[in-house]
């Protein structure tokens, strides 16, 4: 939690009351590898700020195959925002790919933060904008780049994630088959 406060304070002002409120609506939690924080089909009440570890959100298609939507490492947020914003049950599952530590926030209480402490809103708005930018980039990369380029970009941007994942986590994130990913890796190793 200290890290999050530090990040907020690096660019935004935060009153002691606002800081106290953030502490009051959050809980520090540790999870083992494989533990599930949000399960597809269940109600979603929380969002998570990652202080250590690596998590993944994914969904199942009708054939039972998993598709990774997002990875989250230190200082990233993760939840099922579709469920939170549409007040529906989860379409995603969020699981830990390694032992992880997170700060859990009740999503409704965090929402209340904006009205109680308007100075917090610019920080949250920046996070949301960054999230939109990253999703836009992901869609554009999907449309414009080859599978090899997408993989190369992924391991350049997030070199640490690969060590915690199975091939199919990354393959489904990049929208390619496991066989293609293995082939790309072999090709990359030659260069």
């Amino acid at each position: 939690m200290e890290e999050l406060i530090k990040i907020i304070k690096s660019n935004h002002s935060l009153s002691q009351e606002a800081e106290d409120y953030l502490y009051s609506i959050s809980t520090k939690k540790s999870f083992a590898k494989g533990e599930v924080l949000i399960r597809q089909g269940q109600q979603v009440q929380n969002v998570y700020f990652v202080t250590d570890g690596c998590l993944r959100s994914y969904c199942y298609d009708k054939n039972g195959k998993e598709h990774t939507l997002q990875f989250a490492i230190k200082n990233w947020w993760i939840s099922d925002y579709i469920a939170i914003h549409s007040d529906e049950s989860a379409t995603l599952t969020v699981e830990c790919l390694k032992e992880s530590e997170v700060v859990k926030f009740n999503a409704k209480a965090l929402e209340k933060m904006y009205t109680l402490f308007p100075e917090y809103e610019p920080f949250q708005r920046k996070i949301s904008e960054r999230h939109v930018v990253s999703l836009n980039k992901r869609i554009l990369n999907q449309l414009q780049l080859t599978a090899t380029e997408r993989y190369t970009l992924f391991i350049t941007q997030y070199p640490e994630i690969e060590q915690y994942t199975h091939n199919y986590h990354i393959a489904s994130y990049l929208g390619i088959t496991q066989e293609s990913l293995s082939r790309i890796r072999v090709e990359n190793a030659k260069h």
């Binding site: 599930v36 597809q40 199942y60 039972g64 199975h166 091939n167 199919y168 293995s182």
Partner: protein, 327 residues
């Protein structure tokens, strides 16, 4: 719910029928699985034909089949390792047989989450064959550089056994027919023997392990190619004496021919009777997700054509698994 049931022993067409039955009761240690796919195996056919009525007698009518993948929709009070909504696969125990139905209740000990990188249909084809291969080769203590002969590399058990043995670093010989040579090679076998044009007995010498998935003369021939002090593991040959005792056959003795061959070679003979095991299915799940094992599917039939699937199984010519999509 709809279920494909065995109504009597006999020919496939006369002995299987679709019936409307009630959903299975869920005991404290059970999960109720909404079935998405089931697989049929040679044992399912043998049960219908009545060939196993001494060993595995069933009441009539009984819902058929053991392999399943699907979604947990209900769980008993004592189940802590699964949640509603989990995607799972299982080889259900004998007393819970009946995966060719819309729902099946299974003790949670026999269940594992399914591999995330494959479909329900692919996952349904793994449990029985995968557990058979794993338990057989684990019993043999297979390790890197062991030389193993796996018969019928294109079969359900053979195709998974090849991949498991390769994952353990063994050198794998396998037998198959001409049409299957190429794809069986792709499973990783080091030497694929086309039994139509080659005599495996002249190629395989002093194997550490012979894995017999064919029975009959292949069981005794195994002792010609196994090394002195090696192991013959069978899933179709005669029972060994310890396994027979497990079934209450106290006075059973290994057929004399096999006993002599085994003594002469100082090679052990073991019959593996596969048992359901959720933890081992979880091991296989990881191997599938790590791409060390991939399931091989011959045909996927819709539920309504399950009887045709059994007829296909009866031909013994399937390359990989015969799957039935339930839902």
């Amino acid at each position: 719910m709809k279920a494909l049931q065995i109504v009597k022993y006999g020919e496939i067409k006369d002995s299987l029928a679709f019936n409307e039955v009630s959903k299975p009761a869920v005991q404290a240690t059970d999960v109720l699985i909404e079935v998405r796919a089931a697989a049929i195996n040679p044992i399912d056919k043998s049960i219908v034909l009545g060939n196993l009525q001494g060993l595995l007698p069933i009441p009539f009518p009984s819902t058929s089949a053991y392999d399943v993948s699907g979604i947990v929709v209900k769980k008993g009070d004592d189940v802590s390792n699964f949640e509603i909504g989990d995607l799972v696969y299982s080889r259900v125990p004998q007393e819970q047989m009946g995966t060719l139905a819309e729902y099946v209740a299974v003790t949670s000990e026999a269940v594992s989450k399914k591999p995330g990188n494959i479909s329900f249909e692919e996952a349904a084809g793994i449990p029985l064959a995968g557990l058979t291969a794993l338990q057989s080769l684990e019993f043999a203590g297979i390790k890197a550089n062991d030389r193993i002969l796996i018969h019928a590399g294109s079969g359900g058990v053979g195709s998974l056994a090849i991949q498991y043995a390769k994952a353990k670093g063994a050198y794998v010989y396998t037998t198959t027919s001409t049409g299957n040579v190429e794809w069986v090679k792709e499973l990783g076998a080091d030497r694929v023997i086309d039994y139509k044009t080659e005599d495996y007995k002249t190629i395989v010498k002093d194997a550490d392990i012979v894995y017999d998935t064919l029975g009959q003369e292949y069981t005794s021939e195994a002792f010609q190619v196994v090394k002195q002090g090696g192991q013959v593991i069978s899933v179709v040959g005669p029972l060994d004496e310890d396994t027979a005792k497990m079934f209450g056959m106290e006075d059973y003795q290994l057929p004399e021919e096999l006993a002599t061959l085994s003594d002469d070679k100082e090679a052990s003979y073991k019959f593996i009777f596969m048992h359901p095991n959720g933890s081992q299915l979880a091991e296989i799940k990881t191997m599938v997700e790590d791409e060390k094992i991939k399931p091989i599917i011959d045909t996927i039939y819709p539920f309504t054509e399950s009887i045709a699937a059994f007829t296909h199984l009866e031909t013994g010519r399937a390359k990989g698994k015969i799957i039935i999509k339930i839902n």
